[in-house]
Amino acid sequence: MSTEIEPVEEFRLRAREWIKSNLGPTQPFDRTQHCKDDEEELVAVARDRALQRKIFDGGFAGICMPKEYGGLGLTPEHNRAFNEELAGHEYPSRFAVPTFNPCASTILEFCTAEQKAAHLRAILKGEEVWVQLLSEPGGGSDVAGITTSAVRDGDHWVLNGSKVWTSRAWWADWGLILARTNWDVPKHAGMTVFLVPLRAPGVEIQRIIRLNGESEACQEFFTDVRIPDSDRVGEIDAGWTIGTRWMFHERMGHNSPYVTYPSGMTLSAAQEDSPVAIARKSGKIDDPAARELIGEHRELGIVTRALQGRIAEAATKANKDMSAVDRLFRGVASVRRSTIAFDLAGAGASVWDEEEEAATDAIGMNFLMRQISCIGGGTTEISRNVVAERILGMPREASGDKGVAFRDVPKGPSRSQG
C-alpha cells in the first residue's frame, strides 16, 4: 500500500457508494435525539451502537483519528466530504457530541498511548459512549471552581462529590471528569483529569426531569469511588491545561473534525417540522408576514452554516478562540428560530386538544426550552467574555479568586465545603 493520502474526491465517491448501499434514511430521533420514553431511547441507543460498528467495519469510522487507534488518519476535508455525503442518511447521533467531541478529541490530545489504545478504538467500534463530567451543582460557568475532590490513596485515587446536567449518563459507559486534587493553591493549579467508568462502585446516577418532561440529564453522586492512577490523564494538578483545550473542543461542537454527522442537519427538536409545514398547518402560509418569518428562519440557517465554515477554517489557522464567536451566534440564532417556529404555529403551540397534540406540542415545548441553546455547552455570556477578552483584547473582569488558595476563595452555599 502506498503512503499517499487518498484524494478527497476519490474518498468522497467511495463514501457515497458505501453510504448509499449501507445506510437508510434519517430517522426522526437522529435529529431530535428525543425519544418518547426510556424503552424507545434504549432501542435508539442500541441502534446507534450497531450503526457505529457498521461504519467502523465499513472502514469509515474516525476519519481524522490516527490509524493506530482504529481511525483512518485522514484530513478534516475528508471528514467534511463524508459528512456531506451523509446528508439525509441515518447516523449514530448519540456518538457525535460529547463522545467524539469533546471526549475523544481530548483523549487523543492528552492521554497516554495505553489509554488511547484502550478507549479510542472501543469508541470507534461503538462499544463506549462517553460523557463529560464538568458542571457541578455549585456552578457550571466557573469550571475551574469545581469542588468534587480526588484524594490519593496508594496507587488509587478516591473520588467524592457530585456532577450535574450530564446528558445521557444513565445509559452511557465512561466519563471524563475534572476533580480537585489540591485545595492549597489557586484554583487553576489544583485540578486533575481522570477517566471514570460510570458503573463503578460508589457512582449513583439520578435523572433530572426538565420542564418539557424529558429526563436525559443526570446528576451523579460519587462516594469513595476508587480510580486507579493509570486512569489519571496528564500530570497531577495540571488538569486546567487539559480543561482549557477540552472546552475549546466543546465550543467546536459538531464542527469538530472528529465528529461524523450529516451536513445541514439541524440539531433541535424545534425543527422537527419545517417552518413551511408549520405555517401550512396553522393556515398562515399565504400571509406575507408569515412568509417573511419563514424566510428569516431559512436565512439564519444559511448564515449559521456559512459562519461555521468560516470559523472552522479560522480555527486551523489563526485565533483558536474564534470558536466562541460561532458558539455565540449559534445560540442566539437558534433562540430566534424557535421563536419564529412558535409564532408561525399560532395558538396551537400553546393550547391543544388531543388530536392536535402530535402536531404542535413539540413547538410549544421547544419554545419553553429555547434557552438551552444559549446555556448548554457553556453559556453565551461566557462566550461573550471570551470574544471580548481574548479576541478583542478588552480588560478581564475582576475576580475574587486570583492568587488565593482555593480553600479560601469565597463560595456560595452550594460550594462551601462540608
Binding site: P275, R291, G295, E296, E299, V303, A306, L307, V325, R384
Partner: protein, 378 residues
Amino acid sequence: MWHELTSDQQLLRDTTARFLADRVPLDRQRKNKDSATGFEPDYWTSGAELGWIMPLVSEENGGLSVSGRGIVDLSLIAYEFGRHSAPGPLADCNVVASALSDSGDEGHAAALEEIMTGSAIAACCLGAAPWQEPGESTISIARDGDDLVIQGSIKPVESAAQAGYFLVTGRSEGGVTQALVPASTAGITVKNLKAIDVSRKFGAVSFDNVRVPASVLVGQFGGAADAVAMQVRRAAVILSAESVGAMESAFAMTVDWAFDRYTFGRALASYQALKHRFADLKSWLEASHAVCDSAADALADGLPRAAETVCAAKSYIGEQGVELAQDCVQIHGGIGVTYEHDLHFFLRRVTLNRLLYGTPGDHRRWLAQMQIEKELAA
C-alpha cells in the same frame, strides 16, 4: 473577507484601496456634500482603468476577471468601497455591463465599451423585481409594431442624472422585458432626489410613452425574468460586500474608541455590559463576512445553493449591518451623531444598501417562496 486570495486578487484589492484613500478621503467627501454629482468624472474613468467594471464581462467582450471568478473579484472591490464609503454606481454599472455581455448582442457592443471604460455611466431601472407580483411592477414595456413603448416610473435610481444609459426592466404581456435606452431618449425625465448618503446621488426616472426601436432589447421580449434574477443576485452580492466593508470600518473605529474613552476612571472597554455588546457586534460582523463570501462563491461557481445564499446574505447583512452601525453610534455617545465624526458615513452606506435591490423583507419573502417550492417538489 477571507477568501484565499490569489496574488492578482490581492493586487486588485490593494490598488483599489490605495486609489480610494487617495481620491475620496472622508474629509473631502464631507466638504463636497453639496456637489451635484458626488464625484468627479475622471474619478470614475480612472477607477474603471483599474478594472472595476470588467470582472463580469466575458473575455470576448473585452472583460477581465483576474481570478476567473468575476463576482468574487468584484466583491473585493466592493468591500473596499464600503470600507472607504466610496461614491460611484459600482453595482449598477457592473450589473448593466454583465447583462449586455451575457446577452451576446452585437448591437450593444459600443455601449458596453463605454460603460466598461467609465466614459458612460449606466443605471438600472428595475421596474419589475423578482419578488414582486405582476401587479406591483411600476414599468411596462409593450410592443407596438417594430417599436417598443416604455411607460412608468421608478425610484431611487443611483446616479440617474449622470447616466448615459438606462437598463430598463419592465412588465410585458407574458413576462419581463429588458431594454437598454440612452438617457437622452425623448420622453425620459430624471428628477434629482435628496438622499441620506453624502456622496451617492439618486434620481427618479419616468418614462412617458417612450418609443424606441426593438433593437434596444436586451434578451428576448418577455423572456428576461431569469436574466433579471441573476442581475439582482449580482447586485445583492456587490452591495452586501460593500456593507460588510462599511461594517468593518464602523466596528474597528468603535473598538478603538472603547479603549481610548474613559468614564468613572475606567476605559469603556472594561465594562462588561459593553464588552458583551462588542461580542455580539463581532459575531454579526463575522457572520456577515461568512455569508457574503459564501454567496459570492456560490454565484461564481454556479452552485444550486446560490439563489438562496444570496438572498440570505442580502437580508441578513441588510438588517444586521444597520443594527451594528446604530449600536456603534450608541457606544460613541453624543459624538456619534455629529457630522464631524466619520461614523455616519458608514451608517449611511449600510442604511441605503439595506434598501437597494430588495429590502430584508423582500429577500425573505423570496427565500420563503423558494423554500415552499422546494418542499412542494420533495
